[in-house]
């Protein structure tokens, strides 16, 4: 496990050196290079940590029993990671407005995703208030 982590860190450092070399002369290709380093690092992280995380999620599912809540949490984690990936890449190159739009899109998606949970909480609160 730790060997893979050091491999990912080495790839990120080499990518950072290449990006800084290209940044003064070719900022456009440097942007694409930073995007590609991010994509490769995410792929390697997925490949390394997929099976341990899957076993953890299966432990959660067997202990809680109600599968819908942990599913919503996992989907929210995925959406927020992707929004943060997009926003950070934009913010690195000074595009703060686009980064904020990416994060806003992620927040809206998570809000829509959590509507069933909120409505079930409100429904049970209403039933409690009738008693």
């Amino acid at each position: 496990m730790s060997n893979e982590v050091f491999k990912i860190l080495a790839i990120i450092l080499i990518g950072a050196i290449l990006i800084i070399i290209l940044k003064t002369n070719r900022p456009d290709i440097s942007f694409v290079l930073s995007l590609s380093v991010s994509v490769v690092a995410l792929f390697l992280i997925i490949k390394t940590f997929y099976s341990p995380a899957k076993s953890l999620v299966s432990i959660y599912k067997s202990s809680i029993g109600n599968n819908s809540t942990i599913g919503v949490v996992i989907k929210a984690i995925a959406i927020s990671y992707m929004a943060e990936f997009c926003g950070d890449t934009c913010r690195d190159y000074g595009l703060t407005a686009l980064a904020q739009k990416a994060e806003l899109a992620g927040k809206c998606a998570i809000l829509v995703l959590s509507i069933p949970l909120v409505s079930s909480i409100l429904k049970s609160a209403l039933e409690l208030s009738k008693l």
């Binding site: 290209l22 290709i29 290079l33 995007l35 490769v40 390697l44 997929y50 599913g71 992707m82």
Partner: protein, 64 residues
């Protein structure tokens, strides 16, 4: 897995920079700009496929 395309993109960037400098030095500004554009398009074509692959993989893993 696909680590080598980082180095491909960096090499394309360095080659395009050198070609751009040479063409500007020889007074061919239009061809220098076209070289820059061609390098950018090649690099974008390389990255777009892998971004789509990443997003579909994440969708598949997290069950979105």
């Amino acid at each position: 897995m696909n680590v080598d395309f980082i180095f491909k993109i960096a090499a394309i960037g360095i080659i395009v920079t050198v070609l751009n400098l040479l063409l500007v030095r020889f007074g061919r500004e239009e061809q220098a700009m076209l070289t820059t554009l061609a390098g950018l398009v090649v690099v974008l074509l390389m990255i777009v496929k892998s971004i789509a692959e990443l997003f579909s993989e994440i969708k598949g893993i997290f069950g979105l």
